[in-house]
């Protein structure tokens, strides 16, 4: 056992770090580290900088712009990006729609969509959840009826992240009402400019607008925008879940936030001393630091298995659960450190981060997956 990074991996980390230092615009880093609102333009600017460097879609095949990095290199890249305060790369195009097209798309679909996803020309969003179908996604009701060369889509998606920025949305829709629930589903790519689509904001409890309801009223979608065969949508969706990158743990970001927390606690006073020196509070930070350290090694251990050829299974679920719990705890301790203050931004952030244990498969559903897949319960 040797838990040190190899010299090559260390050199790679240095390269990434050096490049980030040179190329991450200061204003974006500032916005990220102060948790300021990131506009569509901010997100796309960073996407395009990475695309120009050839680093925006590391896991894609080389012919489509992938880097050929192994899982540990990809992890290092993500950790460094998060730690440096780079804006997040939204997963919807790069790590959801892209991989689906690579696996199930026709050559024509790949040529049409992949370069634009890579270049950040189209902003994608994910149309899975519906009012009646969250954890039980397969019960979805949005209908797509075949009429000649088109599907006519009717129904509603909800919680759609950044649909108000969206150029395209990939949707799971029901194409066969008579089939068993998983079998009547298809995967459609829908241009958000198509007539009949209405996007309505949903305001979250921190007052922010990041999610939306998306209504479809007789929306005509060309049949060539269907990915995989009719009725294969659930297979596509399951592939996506299994393929989801191992970055849900967001170690780099949490490491940066942990440092922020320490710096912040050093500026707050309690009993005439820095809060950071208060044993009671310091212990909470230390426990969290230990948990994060453990998660980092767990993540690397899983990646090492992946590199050795073992496909990812319930491990991804564990990383999601622990990673989000750490992120939530960080926001909570920041709020606690602030104490009574007129600056409520930290408290709002704590509120906002309750979402992380709900979205991307709730932590309860992740536990169900682990119980079923790896424990045989």
């Amino acid at each position: 056992m040797d838990l040190n990074y190899s010299p090559e991996e260390q050199a790679f980390r240095e390269e990434v770090r050096g490049w980030l230092r040179e190329n991450l615009p200061a204003d974006l880093r500032e916005k990220v580290s102060t948790h300021a609102h990131l506009a569509k333009d901010d997100l796309q600017r960073w996407h395009r900088i990475l695309a120009a460097r050839g680093w925006v879609a590391p896991s894609w095949p080389k012919e489509w712009g992938g880097t050929g990095w192994d899982p540990v290199q990809r992890y290092i890249f993500e950790e460094e990006s998060g730690y440096a305060g780079a804006p997040p790369l939204l997963p919807f195009g790069l790590s959801m729609c892209g991989p689906v097209l690579l696996k199930f798309g026709t050559d024509e679909q790949k040529r049409r969509f992949l370069p634009r996803i890579y270049g950040g020309d189209d902003f994608w969003c994910q149309g899975y959840s519906e009012p009646g179908s969250g954890s039980d996604l397969a019960s979805l009701k949005t209908r797509a009826t075949r009429e000649g060369g088109h599907y006519v889509v009717n129904g509603q998606k909800t919680w759609t992240t950044l649909a108000h920025y969206g150029d395209w949305i990939f949707c799971l829709v029901r194409t066969d009402a008579a089939a068993k629930k998983q079998e009547g589903i298809s995967f459609l790519l829908i241009d958000m400019k198509t007539p009949g689509i209405t996007v309505r904001p949903l305001i979250l409890m921190d007052g922010g607008h990041e999610v939306n309801e998306v209504f479809f009223d007789d929306v005509k979608v060309p049949v060539e925008n269907r990915v995989a065969d009719e009725g294969m949508g659930w297979t596509v969706a399951k592939y996506l879940l299994g393929h989801e990158r191992m970055n849900t743990a967001r170690i780099g970001t949490s490491r940066r936030e942990l440092e922020n927390l320490k710096e912040f606690a050093a500026t707050q006073r309690k009993n005439g001393r820095a809060l950071l020196e208060d044993t009671r509070f310091r212990d909470k930070i230390s426990r969290l630091e230990v948990e994060l350290m453990a998660l980092e090694i767990t993540n690397l251990r899983f990646l090492d298995q992946l590199r050795g050829g073992r496909p990812p299974g319930a491990e991804v679920s564990m990383l999601k659960i622990t990673g989000t719990e750490i992120q939530q705890r960080l926001t909570e301790l920041m709020m606690e450190a602030a104490g009574p203050t007129s600056d409520i931004a930290l408290a709002q952030r704590y509120c906002n981060y309750r979402k992380t244990s709900i979205y991307a498969g709730s932590n309860e559903i992740q536990r169900n997956i682990i119980a079923k897949m790896s424990l045989g319960l």
């Binding site: 959840s129 309750r354 709900i358 709730s362």
Partner: protein
């Protein structure tokens, strides 16, 4: 030993509960919060008409001589309704006047408080003070008439809607004193904002503001501690109401929200979570009852402090546990600002810190 409310207490809390149900529904509250002032003058008059503002004052002061236990049911009802009006703030400030003020100050303030024409805020917190009541740097110096106040007070809840403020400050090399300030005085600057739980609040700067001394100069700390303990016990009771709402709403959601063809409450993983929330609620309710009872009957300040701190620790834990779980078990809906659950989450989060977070009270408890 007897836990039930007496007849009068029951009638009173019923009337407040009825009022909240009829006139302080979630939509009505939303409109109040969205209004410029962030509170409703009509609601305030109703609270006065219901006798809630006179309740805790002695009959000599024109009140009904009620104690913390008499207010428990009232606070629970307000907690359930997430009432944003300056009830507790007004009680804290006016209680200082009732406890230590001159006859003239009482005359000026208490009848107006009781009939609903005067609203108040208690300006205590300062930079770097965290939850310490004796960390006071504001200063008052003797003026021709009365005193002149200088300094900054932070995060004063309900300051923007208050007619009078009671402010802690140091004077003449002595300890901490309390001062009564007309909120419209020249020299007061408010930086107003809304708290996480949607209350109007402000950071206040005082520049040479005329004020009068409340009580004996330099000897206000025991009064402040007693008033804050009183308010802490009451906010514990308020939390009980908010916790109850969070649990009721979550239980209802578990029974009605269907996924995988069944109500999500059919999943044992969630049943146990719900049961733990109920246990938290019951433990919190017991501690709130104990705190209110001891506010009325503790043999000395030490006993009062010990019990109030113990209660606040348990309440803070329950607030955190129940608020987080209620949002989580609502899934995405729990995050939505359209549902009262998320507003209850915010109130519970704020209560966990109000008048000292769990750490603060753990320390006070350990000091004995």
């Amino acid at each position: 030993m007897k836990f039930d409310y007496n007849e009068e207490q029951r009638l009173l809390s019923d009337s407040v509960r009825r009022f909240v149900a009829q006139d302080y529904g979630f939509e009505a509250r939303r409109a109040i919060v969205a209004s410029k002032e962030g509170m409703s003058a009509t609601v305030w008059s109703t609270l006065a008409e219901l006798g809630l503002l006179g309740l805790p004052f002695s009959s000599d002061d024109g009140g009904f001589g009620g104690g913390a236990v008499d207010l428990m049911g009232v606070m629970e009802a307000m907690g359930e309704g997430l009432v944003v009006e300056p009830y507790l703030s007004t009680l804290m400030a006016s209680r200082c006047v009732a406890a230590a003020g001159t006859d003239e100050q009482k005359q000026r303030i208490l009848p107006g408080v009781i009939d609903g024409s005067i609203r108040m805020a208690f300006a205590q917190g300062e930079k770097d003070a965290r939850f310490d009541l004796d960390h006071v740097q504001a200063r008052a110096t003797r003026a021709k008439e009365g005193f002149a106040l200088e300094g900054e007070k932070l995060a004063v809840v309900h300051a923007p809607v208050a007619d009078f403020l009671v402010v802690s400050a140091r004077s003449g090399g002595k300890g901490i004193s309390l001062f009564l300030v007309d909120a419209k005085s020249a020299g007061i600057t408010l930086r107003s904002y809304r708290t996480l739980d949607e209350m109007p609040a402000a950071d206040i700067s005082f520049r040479n503001v005329p004020c009068t001394l409340v009580g004996t100069e330099g000897e206000a700390l025991p009064i402040i501690e007693a008033v804050v303990d009183f308010a802490t016990a009451l906010v514990c009771a308020e939390a009980v109401g908010a916790l109850k709402y969070a649990n009721d709403a979550t239980l209802e959601y578990l029974k009605t929200r269907k996924q995988f063809g069944v109500p999500i409450g059919a999943f044992q993983a969630l049943q146990h979570r719900m049961v733990d929330m109920v246990i938290s609620y019951e433990q919190a309710k017991s501690m709130a009852s104990l705190a209110c009872a001891k506010i009325d009957s503790a043999k000395d300040a030490a006993e009062r402090k010990r019990v109030v701190s113990a209660a606040k620790i348990r309440i803070a834990d329950a607030c955190r546990h129940v608020s987080q779980e209620s949002v989580q078990l609502h899934g995405g809906m729990g995050m939505s600002e359209e549902l009262k659950v998320s507003h209850t989450f915010r109130r519970l989060t704020a209560i966990a810190q109000q008048f000292g977070d769990a750490d603060h009270h753990l320390e006070r408890l350990a000091r004995g």
